[in-house]
């Protein structure tokens, strides 16, 4: 006889689903072998369909000029989306990024125009430092209230959404601050905001060298531990695809000349910032303990705590990163506009969250990827850009973007269900 066999046994919350084998098709097997993410490939395919669709409609979409502009337009959201991935993976949300962008941008513009002398070398430097510190401070405040005072992040950042939008107005009582420092405008990707053909190729080659080194060294390491590696020709194929992508991108950015000339603009500075931050986050940061802990917290907060992970501190740092990225987006947005306005970044939080979610970040936490989210950002911006080319009224654009977000998440739910069965 046993004591409590009558009482229902505590069924574990996570009854393990049956292992899935034999359901993988050739395509998935190829993707796994090549180290490609099937999800990411799906997104790239969706992006290609959208691009070709718009091009067929307008005849203007797939031109160097439009794609160059598309990348610049994507950079504000693209810079922030990596932070939002971390926030959402850690089971939090940040609704305030648009307002923080606006507030920090306004403060920077105000300092630049009203407080410091314009066109001295240290003006942009000082204003940017102020902006970044302010972003970090706001993020730390959010993180502190969420992690230590245990106020739900939805509420904290909803409050900040209102408060910092109001704050952006209060800095100058609603006056627009313009024009800004010319050096500062480099960050906006305007007429002086790209690095030219030569430097673009230098950057591209550097990226290629790093890529090749990464593939070669990780192969060597896996051999050392006796893990299976791809056949050599497969390795070459994967490297070739990656190198081809980088080279193609640089070539594209070099195909859009300055007006009335044949001088190529090259990589725009804001796009470099977006790519740099994205690469930094998905390589260096991704390999740190911090990153692992963010995902552990998102996957199982209790297990994380029981493992001795300082969950509060990690949550705080996540919000600090988000704040700094919102400030960087503020730099790009104000520099691009060549003005500080109190409406900068309005509704940006929605684009950022949508991009993260479309990029495969799960709102239930624990799942997300930076490359996916950045493609999500480009995808959202492509829709906007294409609809502008089609001359759709902005009200209709909002309707379409909202619908796309819901459909994308629904597709994700279907995808997740398929994966688990």
């Amino acid at each position: 006889m046993s004591v409590e066999t009558t009482a229902p046994r505590q069924t574990p919350a996570e009854a393990p689903p049956p292992a899935r084998f034999g359901r993988v098709n050739v395509f998935q097997r190829f993707a796994a072998w090549a180290g490609f993410d099937t999800r990411l490939m799906g997104m790239v395919a969706a992006l290609a369909v959208i691009w070709v669709g718009f091009h067929l409609q307008t005849g203007l979409f797939l031109t160097p000029r439009n794609l160059w502009n598309l990348m610049v337009q994507s950079s504000v959201v693209g810079v922030m989306v990596g932070g939002m991935v971390l926030v959402i993976v850690a089971r939090q949300i940040d609704l305030s990024v648009g307002s923080v962008l606006g507030f920090v941008g306004m403060v920077m513009a105000f300092m630049q125009v009203q407080v410091f002398p314009l066109e001295v070398w240290w003006n942009p430097l000082a204003t940017i430092l102020i902006g970044l510190s302010l972003g970090a401070l706001i993020g730390a405040f959010h993180g502190y209230v969420v992690a230590y005072l245990e106020v739900p992040s939805f509420i904290v950042t909803l409050g900040s959404l209102l408060a910092f939008r109001g704050g952006a107005w209060l800095v100058t009582s609603g006056r627009t601050m313009a024009p800004l420092d010319t050096t500062y405008q480099i960050f906006g990707g305007g007429i002086n905001g790209s690095i030219g053909a030569t430097w673009s190729w230098v950057g591209g080659l550097a990226a290629i060298v790093i890529l090749v080194w990464y593939f070669v060294s990780s192969r060597a390491r896996r051999r050392k531990y006796g893990f299976t590696v791809r056949p050599l020709w497969g390795e070459f194929l994967v490297i070739a695809i990656n190198v081809g992508f980088v080279a193609g991108f640089v070539q594209l950015m070099n195909s859009y000349p300055f007006p009335g000339t044949t001088v190529p603009r090259g990589l725009p500075v804001p796009v470099l910032m977006m790519l740099g931050l994205g690469i930094l986050m998905s390589t260096v940061l991704r390999s740190t303990r911090f990153w692992r802990y963010v995902f552990a917290i998102g996957g199982n907060p209790e297990a994380a705590r029981f493992s001795g992970i300082p969950t509060r501190r990690i949550t705080l740092i996540v919000f600090v990163i988000m704040g700094v990225l919102a400030a960087i987006a503020g730099i790009i947005a104000t520099a691009r506009l060549n003005a500080g306005t109190n409406s900068a970044g309005e509704l940006a939080e929605l684009s950022v969250i949508a991009a993260a979610v479309i990029g495969g970040t799960s709102l239930s936490g624990g799942v997300g990827s930076i490359p996916g989210a950045m493609i999500g950002a480009v995808l959202m911006e492509s829709l906007r850009n294409g609809m502008v080319l089609m001359d759709l009224p902005s009200a209709l654009q909002n309707v379409v973007q909202g619908a796309v977000l819901v459909v994308a998440v629904w597709l994700d739910v279907v995808y997740q269900r398929y994966r688990r069965r």
Binding site: V3, Q10, A13, F306, G308
Partner: protein
């Protein structure tokens, strides 16, 4: 004089709000021994082990390890003393792979980078030691079977040379075959000189594995008995009525005082 207990928790008190979760509970555990902790839901078993594993702090009471008084403020402290816990269903982060779970909180690093390959190789070794095969270690543990998941949880404990293992309902989620595997594992670990606190609802489970049984009822220790000297009915009486069967061993810690 008898040998020193590996762990001794002496006069532990813990209250949540006005509710006394534990009142004056004293238990001990020797090396190479399995002590079963039994009692109804809410009897205080989980609270007691969470104090030992550093999840909660005790309101009062003392903890001795190898006769030395220790302070356990958090899970890190507990691990520092060789105490590892295998929770029923809080053990794993489902979205991470097996190596990430095994090394969670104690990653192998290479500079500021996680050394994923080293962790994968070490995980493979420790799982082989448990004679559990996991086909792909790079897959999230969500896709593993119940037995494989339990092996990951146990592997996580033994990799770091735990001396004191707390197992909270280790077989509750498992099928009979997998439960037998875990039973084998318990014997194996005991043979290696680990002390194990085994928490279970299933009295058969406890009788199969435990050398001694400590019974808790509404936050108090009813008593500790040697498994060999009592019947299952005796223990049931202790659990339900809260009374001793009258043939408790000499060193049994009895509630009260």
């Amino acid at each position: 004089m008898e040998r020193q207990p590996l762990v001794e928790m002496r006069s532990i008190y813990k209250a949540f709000g006005g509710v006394h979760a534990l009142e004056d509970v004293t238990v001990d555990l020797y090396a190479g021994e399995v002590v079963g902790l039994v009692g109804h839901n809410g009897a205080g078993k989980s609270t007691l082990i969470k104090i030992l594993s550093g999840v909660y702090g005790a309101d009062s009471g003392r903890i001795f390890i190898d006769g030395q008084e220790v302070t356990i403020r958090n899970p890190r402290d507990a691990r520092g003393h060789g105490i590892e816990t295998i929770y029923q269903n809080l053990a794993l982060a489902d979205n991470l792979d097996a190596p990430a779970n095994i090394f969670l909180g104690r990653e192998i690093m290479r500079g500021i980078s996680l050394n994923e390959d080293a962790m994968e190789a070490e995980s493979r070794k420790v799982l082989n030691r448990l004679r559990i095969s996991v086909p792909s270690l790079r897959e999230s543990v969500l896709n593993l079977s119940g037995g494989q998941r339990q092996a990951v949880a146990i592997g996580r404990a033994i990799y770091f040379n735990a001396r004191i293992l707390i197992m909270d309902e280790p077989t509750a989620a498992l099928g009979p075959q997998e439960a037998r595997q875990v039973g084998e594992l318990i014997k194996q670990l005991k043979g290696q000189g680990l002390g194990i606190f085994l928490i279970s609802h299933d009295i058969h489970d406890v009788f199969d594995h435990a050398d001694r049984i400590s019974v808790l009822k509404t936050g108090r220790l009813v008593g500790t008995v040697r498994t060999a000297e009592v019947t299952k009915d005796d223990v049931l009486t202790m659990i339900i009525a809260g009374t001793l069967p009258g043939k408790t061993q000499g060193n049994a810690a009895v509630a009260g005082g």
